[in-house]
């Protein structure tokens, strides 16, 4: 049982104080003291969350809102552009574009890094804004960085398969970089689903990959405690999601559907609470800009080419074929034991999209003798936006690469 003295409340204390001028004079201080005790017992709600506090909270919020509306009215779409680092288009094929970021050191490392991002969302998360950019930090530390932008697939791209993405686009980009730089091999940095693609590519073309870095990349898809994997059908298969039916009916999978799926992993926090918290930061233009940039990135979701989605969901999420060595990319079989190059596996400890165990499984299936694993105490998105990670992650990558050039 609880005692009432825990619930002293300044507003009640103030209102029931005998010194308050308009209180009836015939109540003695003892009487008021007694009354205070009674109030505390009878009004536990108010002593937990006081009227005064609530009013104060509301007033502060209103002030922030007023300032926030002022801030918002000054902002325009161009203020929240993503992809801050200067870059050149060096290669184009169909809807994909290969960018080379302008090096910022006189003599970058001889072997460039090709960043392979996921098909979900835009790749510019790695270059979100000037002070929160993995790319900018890698450039500063002396890397020569390339990035594949997958573009926005339309209905005409519905028939693209993983074969086109991996044996086609990625291979062509790698060949372009090799030819341009007159190199036998390049470094690959695969992020999220792009990490899984990089694993497939490196196992198919080990002769073209010098070092492989994978970041928050799913490897083992049978994760019964992960909502994303469970919904994808890692245990139930088509009973959880009939991918064939979905692709047949939709053609391409709409980006909005994927957005909803990701929001529904934490529907209250991501769908509602985040916006209820927004007024709290509205008085700061910088914070609004950060918030809006994230919003832009989150909801700027390209559709997924239908046949690619079909194969990825069925073979990877539902069949877990990557670790079984059963994935076929075109007519080539992916075997993770072909991965003999040095591998750096980076994962997020609090990742709710790619559970750490899923990434960590990689070690069991590769044959490389040079395998490094490094974790960061953040979630999936924190890997790109956390200030602490942006301080520690780029040097981790660059130092690791420098010792392997």
């Amino acid at each position: 049982m609880m005692t009432s003295h825990c619930y002293s409340h300044p507003l009640i204390d103030h209102c029931l104080s005998p010194t308050v001028a308009n209180f009836p004079p015939h109540f003695s201080p003892e009487c008021w003291h007694l009354l205070q005790g009674v109030f505390r017992i009878m009004l536990p709600f108010l002593t937990q969350m006081g009227l005064e506090d609530t009013t104060h909270e509301y007033t502060e919020l209103t002030q922030k809102l007023v300032k926030g509306i002022e801030n918002l009215s000054r902002l325009r779409e161009e203020d929240i552009e993503i992809g801050a680092s200067p870059k050149d288009v060096v290669y184009q094929e169909d809807k994909i574009t290969l960018y080379r970021f302008k090096p910022v050191v006189k003599k970058p490392l001889a072997v460039p890094v090709l960043i392979v991002y996921a098909l979900v969302n835009r790749p510019f998360m790695v270059d979100l804004q000037e002070n929160r950019s993995l790319v900018a930090n890698l450039l500063k530390l002396g890397l020569d960085v390339y990035l594949i932008d997958w573009g926005y697939p339309t209905r005409a791209d519905r028939w693209l398969t993983l074969d086109d993405y991996i044996n086609g686009y990625i291979d062509n980009c790698v060949d372009f970089i090799r030819e341009t730089n007159q190199l036998e091999k390049v470094n690959l940095l695969g992020v999220c689903q792009g990490g899984t693609f990089s694993l497939c590519y490196s196992s198919l073309y080990p002769e073209k990959v010098k070092n492989l870095i994978v970041m928050v990349a799913p490897v083992d898809f049978n994760m019964p405690n992960s909502l994303l994997n469970m919904r994808g059908g890692c245990t139930l298969g088509a009973e959880a999601l009939d991918v064939d039916l979905m692709v047949d009916s939709l053609g391409n999978i709409p980006g909005d559907y994927l957005n909803l799926e990701f929001l529904m992993l934490k529907p209250r926090q991501l769908g509602i609470q985040k916006y209820l918290d927004f007024p709290e930061i509205m008085d700061s233009e910088d914070k609004i800009l950060n918030f809006l940039r994230m919003e832009k990135w989150i909801f700027d979701s390209p559709d997924q080419a239908g046949e690619t989605y079909r194969q990825f969901m069925k073979d990877f999420y539902q069949g877990n074929k990557l670790i079984k060595g059963e994935v076929m990319i075109g007519d080539k079989q992916v075997n993770l034991s072909n991965l003999t190059m040095p591998i750096l596996n980076l994962y997020a400890e609090k990742d709710h999209l790619v559970p750490p165990e899923s990434s960590l499984a990689l070690q069991q299936y590769v044959t490389t003798k040079d395998y490094t694993v490094q974790s960061f105490p953040v979630g999936h998105i924190g890997m790109y936006v956390s200030g602490k990670v942006q301080r520690d992650l780029p040097p981790t990558i660059v130092d690791w690469l420098k010792t392997r050039m």
Partner: protein, 355 residues
Amino acid sequence: MTNNNKNWSNMASEVVNTWTETSTQVWRNWFDFMGTVSTAKPFGDVQPELDKFTHRYLDNQDLWLRFVKLSFDAWKDIFPQLESGGDWTKTMSQYAQKMREQLDNVSHGNLQMNQDVAQMWQLYLQQVQKFTQLWLDPMGLHLGTMGKAATGNSSAWIELNNLYWNLFYEESFGSLMQSPILGPTREFNGKLVRSFEAWKNLNQASVNYQVVLADIQVRSFEALMQNLISRAEKGEAIQTWKQFQQVWSEIADDVFGEAFCQEENLKIRGAFLNALSAYRLEQQQLMELFLQSMNMPLRSEVDEMHKTIYELRKELKQLKKDLAQKNVQQEVTSSSKGTKTATTNKAEKSKGTDA
């Protein structure tokens, strides 16, 4: 004293109401504002979509805030009993029951809607195919059964919903609907009937899914109350309305996540998504008939065209690659031939010189 107490409670409720209404209003204004800014019109092109989104968002938020407020009210009632050592569990059960009753009303409404719309379809098909009144009697029976089966348990609603479709529909009208159709309109009516079947499956799956979602809401409410009680027992009071909302959100998401890691719930969700896809496919079939009659290009024709272009493009890329490779090989061969010839000539020349 009682009056004072009442006044305080009223004031507190007033503040909570104001807060929830204000936050909704703020968002409504914010969306309106974003949609109507006239200077740069950054979102001008998406105004209709934005309106739809705004309404969907606000509806959802309204619902959420109402639910939060109900939880908040429940906590106000439960806390005094917890403090005085009284039986707070009874009050909590009453609130949970109250929520379940609301959920039952929603489920009842959905079922009623199923019946109404299904009846309209049935009447239409009666006209088209001269079907009999086979379906009306089971529907009448169903109304009676439903009242008895509504026990407040969410699984009962799912069973009832399935019972409704499987027993009353499938075994009477449903089986008749699946039989081959006769006459010149056979193909069209066949598609129509299959579309209705898919729609029926979607409705059934949708109601089941809604029941699971609503049940999760109730369970998250119970989890919230447990959490608040355990906090209060540790002396960790909730200090602000914002903190209350945050706690509520985190708990609700945890309950939601756990619920959908359970296979039975995943199957219900999967059935809903799959029924949605199946219904869309059937819709497309009907749409194609319509477009065909209007002499318009069909989705399937466009897809077929895209596929052909894709395959040709892929073939072309491969041919280009092969050609480039052949050229390189040829160059290597000819240059090595050239070298060989040059070497031979040189050798012969030196041979001649030697001779």
